[in-house]
Symmetry: C2
Subunit: 334 residues, 2 copies
Amino acid sequence: MPELRKDPITSRWVIISTERGRRPHFLEMEPPHKSDGFCPFCPGNEDKTPPEVLAYRPNGGPPNSPGWSLRVVPNKFPALQIEGDLDRKGEGMYDKMRGIGAHEVIIENPDHLATISQLPEQKVEEILWAFRDRILDLKKDRRFRYILIFKNHGTAAGATLEHPHSQLIATPIVPKRVREEVDGAKEYFSYKERCIYCDIITQEREQGARLISENEDFVVIAPFAPRFPFETWILPKAHDSFYEDGQKREYVNLARSLRDTLLRIEKSLSHPPYNFIIHNTPFHENQRDSYHWHLEIMPKLTRVAGFEWGTGFYINPTPPEDSAKFMREIDLTP
Amino acid sequence: MPELRKDPITSRWVIISTERGRRPHFLEMEPPHKSDGFCPFCPGNEDKTPPEVLAYRPNGGPPNSPGWSLRVVPNKFPALQIEGDLDRKGEGMYDKMRGIGAHEVIIENPDHLATISQLPEQKVEEILWAFRDRILDLKKDRRFRYILIFKNHGTAAGATLEHPHSQLIATPIVPKRVREEVDGAKEYFSYKERCIYCDIITQEREQGARLISENEDFVVIAPFAPRFPFETWILPKAHDSFYEDGQKREYVNLARSLRDTLLRIEKSLSHPPYNFIIHNTPFHENQRDSYHWHLEIMPKLTRVAGFEWGTGFYINPTPPEDSAKFMREIDLTP
């Protein structure tokens, strides 16, 4: 059973997960499974994953059989486990609890090599619906306070399997970094009575220098203070706190924005490793006015070294005005 | 000129440093200079670095000539620049200032291949004295609020040159992560009227499960909530806020502890990449009672992926009780 431990000085939580040490690739630096090897996420290998919790089967068919267009399964090497109670405890001056939570894998499509930027828009939209379906389902479990949806693409970004997939982790506490962001936005709101993200969108659309693209519902920008070269944010234009509360049309436009943006990143940087993360509002808290959900994409081109670890400052050699210009001007005609 | 920009939501500062983009290894994933190539840090190549700011020459000799046993030079690709004023400015809703600071390289010894664990103790002590000399000198510059001393060892930990070296960065603001730690310790002190690190040392020495080694002045532990497998902290036993205020004997014993600990890490994990960072008290603040300087070593065996970026939680597959036991039992006889 994984254990959650709190650093007594900074209140940072750590998941001690010996289960996860059994993953095939721990402590190894080799690239992930290549397409010629065995892949547990490919159709026909449904019995090599834990039983599915969600699948889209356009032509029907029984669970855990081929014929799916998207499939969600519990992670075989979960960082957190779904059964049990938190069981908060002390150990002298330290605090810990059992590592309760959900850890799921969204297998985005049956094709081992088709990444989001190569899929048709309707297929990307399906992934976004799956994120929503899983959030709505897990939100019913009152033990959970937050759900993080993220993607590790490429070995350097932490992916251990090549088949295109995203991940979801539901946690019993609001993570520190989410808390910082939500609190920062709340503080701005209490001072200005405006959403800070709405203000950012207004300024970026006026200034234009960091604007990458926009459509009816979404705006894509390079943030003013990016941690990494080509860091990119996708924000809904209308103020909206919860990813899962969007209109049908918004998922269509988000699919369009996400696919377009990943394509621009891949063309700009010749297929870099990247992470993307959906920043959503914690459940059961009243942040509806102050927090604005969005998606952040971070290509992994630079290494995080001692200076970043020690300070929490990032050193970024690429001004966002340069990366935005570059991405705006990419020619997307095939 | 580098620019410091503040993320308006989280108040995280970022250094936009186009200068640094010119480093030979940016955007490349290849290993650092190997010993058969040209090395700007080797004796005889003193003119390939900016002029030295400190050097130890046991037999004398002019500056920027061979004959040194340790040499400190400004970083050729500095993240921050030494000349000028901060010039704080707004840009609409955003805040920025000029990237003023010092960025220096401590070339630890003339031998291209002799890492700290392979040096005699007196040579390690010399490195520790150089850290102190540079802190004392830079502390006089009233623009600076903090000095971070750190080492990136191995490519995966961010080193771009192989020749053994550490780095120093002096910053005009107290970095966010330092602030969190210092404030956490202060909060504990105001509640308990005791230093949290002193309490940690007491509990760890009593429990023993996470204790790795100790000598007259220093204790080495695996922390209760480590972010990474084999994360290791070296703490002075006596309460002390400032690295630079130690007694002569303490640097001798720190050299012994550091060398011994790095040797244990290298033997445990077959020469992993690692970062170490000295956590010191910010200048010109009254934290003398509550903050306790120490050194943290983080081997880089796991990759930081989307989950860690999104939450600030770390997933660690190795309990500190296991890593401490392993390191305690390493046989150090050559």
